[in-house]
Amino acid sequence: MIRKFAPFVVFMGLILFLSCPSSTNAATPPDPTEQLRPFMDRIVSILTDPELMGDENCIQRRDKVMKVASERFDFDEMSKRVLGKEWRKLNDDEKKHFVALFTKLLEHAYIGKLEDYSKQKVVFKGQRIKNNRAQVMTDVVDKDVVISVSYILLLDSSVWKVYDIVVEGVSLVRNYMEQFKGILRKNGYAILLKQVEDKVSELEQGIGKPCPVDISEKKDA
């Protein structure tokens, strides 16, 4: 069970990067895989850029990745979905606040981990389109281990944006939604917000360290 989650982290980031803008014909929906692929390449190129290599460039590298990611990740849609019915009760400022926090959470949680995974191979397996949504299926191959990762996308004026990542059948959004639902029911929105704020500041403390701990050596072992 545990190992299914690690790649999650990775891919989330990867996906973020995938989505560099590409011009498309407005009449027919663009091809989701064709949009995702260059985005992935772009992430890898940041991660393997010699000028950005090394621990001392860690924060700069992460910022770059995050900047590209925000173009292709639909953090609004993700936040809306993880909150479920609660979302509709929030006013615009509250929504904005939550989106900013949740984006931070994803940033610290996932983007920092991308580098360990940049060496893995991604195989595009196929795609499904339903109205303005699409699922792009990939396999992440790391030595003998194959992990299936799907990106769930929403079409936003000719740009496919990721709003969920499904690793080995486990949807990230659905998983967070389930956790939040319990907290909302028991303690209400104010407490949930506080917990998210605490978590984010906890993760931000970690960023003060020179760089995320390199776990690649353990993975190679």
Binding site: I2, F5, A6, K113, G169, E178
Partner: protein, 269 residues
């Protein structure tokens, strides 16, 4: 002797129908695959994720117990082990244990009527036991492109209409349900060869711990990486368990391939 007794207790309990007391048969039809592009998937009361957790307070205690044990005992042991034994060798041990379980999977694919999977499992077992040298290498996967196949008694029982019963967190084992753990125990004790080599519970436990330590040594650090991002790890693992199992079963039934590649494509705007 001890093992047999435990086994019989499980079978008898099961045949009494306890597994069905708490939850009826699966809520979604066997042909209906999880569709991530459907709004139902994200609806808060999506039926596919109905589950029963009447023992939540107890389960939470076991969850914390497992978590503590994992971080303070199992992972340090596995870390030490991984420093002593080279990674390639640990990969071989993992394949070895997996290969010994292929006969169990073979029987379960037959019981589920997945005959082409049965052939694949059989093929894997024959190739890996010979060319793969007692299963130490996955020659079938690497050289013949036969992907690993999963099939458990829990899945067989599900196909036969037996409900999950209720969610259970098992000490030293993790998330399961009444039906699944029953199936796993029968699979392990009844049919997996290395547990029937001995009647001694200690020997069987040692094999189990050795096998799991080896597996863990291949995934060090991943558990903490994941859990530190969670708000309620208990709920997260419960949800992930049901999601993962559902998709895995869709796959083994071929259901996910029946989802249409393109539906109602509307213009971009």
């Amino acid at each position: 002797m001890m093992l047999r007794v435990v086994l019989y207790i499980f079978i008898v309990t099961f045949s009494l129908g306890l597994g069905n007391l708490w939850l009826p048969t699966p809520v979604l039809g066997a042909d209906e695959a999880v569709d991530f592009l459907s709004d139902d998937f994200y609806s808060e009361d999506a039926e596919s994720y109905l589950f029963n957790d009447p023992l939540e307070p107890v389960n939470r205690i076991v969850f914390i117990f497992n978590d503590t044990l994992f971080i303070w005992v199992m992972e340090p042991v596995a870390t030490f082990y991984s420093n002593v034994v080279p990674g390639d060798l640990r990969g071989c041990f993992d394949s070895f244990f997996r290969n010994l379980q292929e006969p169990v999977r073979f029987v379960n694919t037959l019981l589920q009527g997945r005959f082409s999977d049965s052939l694949d499992v059989l093929g894997r077992f024959v190739i890996n036991s010979t060319l793969g040298i007692y299963g130490l290498a996955d020659a079938a996967g690497r050289d013949f492109g036969i992907a690993p196949i999963e099939a458990t008694l829990g899945e067989t029982l599900e196909n036969w209409g037996v409900g999950d019963g209720f969610y259970l967190v098992i000490p030293l084992f993790g998330p399961s349900t009444f039906r699944e753990i029953t199936g796993d125990v029968v699979d392990a004790m009844g049919m997996t060869p290395y547990y029937s080599w001995t009647d001694d519970l200690w020997v069987a436990s040692t094999i189990y711990v050795g096998k799991e330590t080896n597996k863990l040594s291949l995934h060090l650090g991943e558990y903490e990486e994941w859990t530190k991002l969670l708000f309620d790890p208990y709920v997260s693992f419960r949800n992930a368990y049901f999601q993962y199992r559902r998709t895995a079963r869709d796959r083994s039934r071929g259901a996910e391939y029946r989802l249409k590649a393109i539906e109602d494509v509307s213009p971009a705007e």
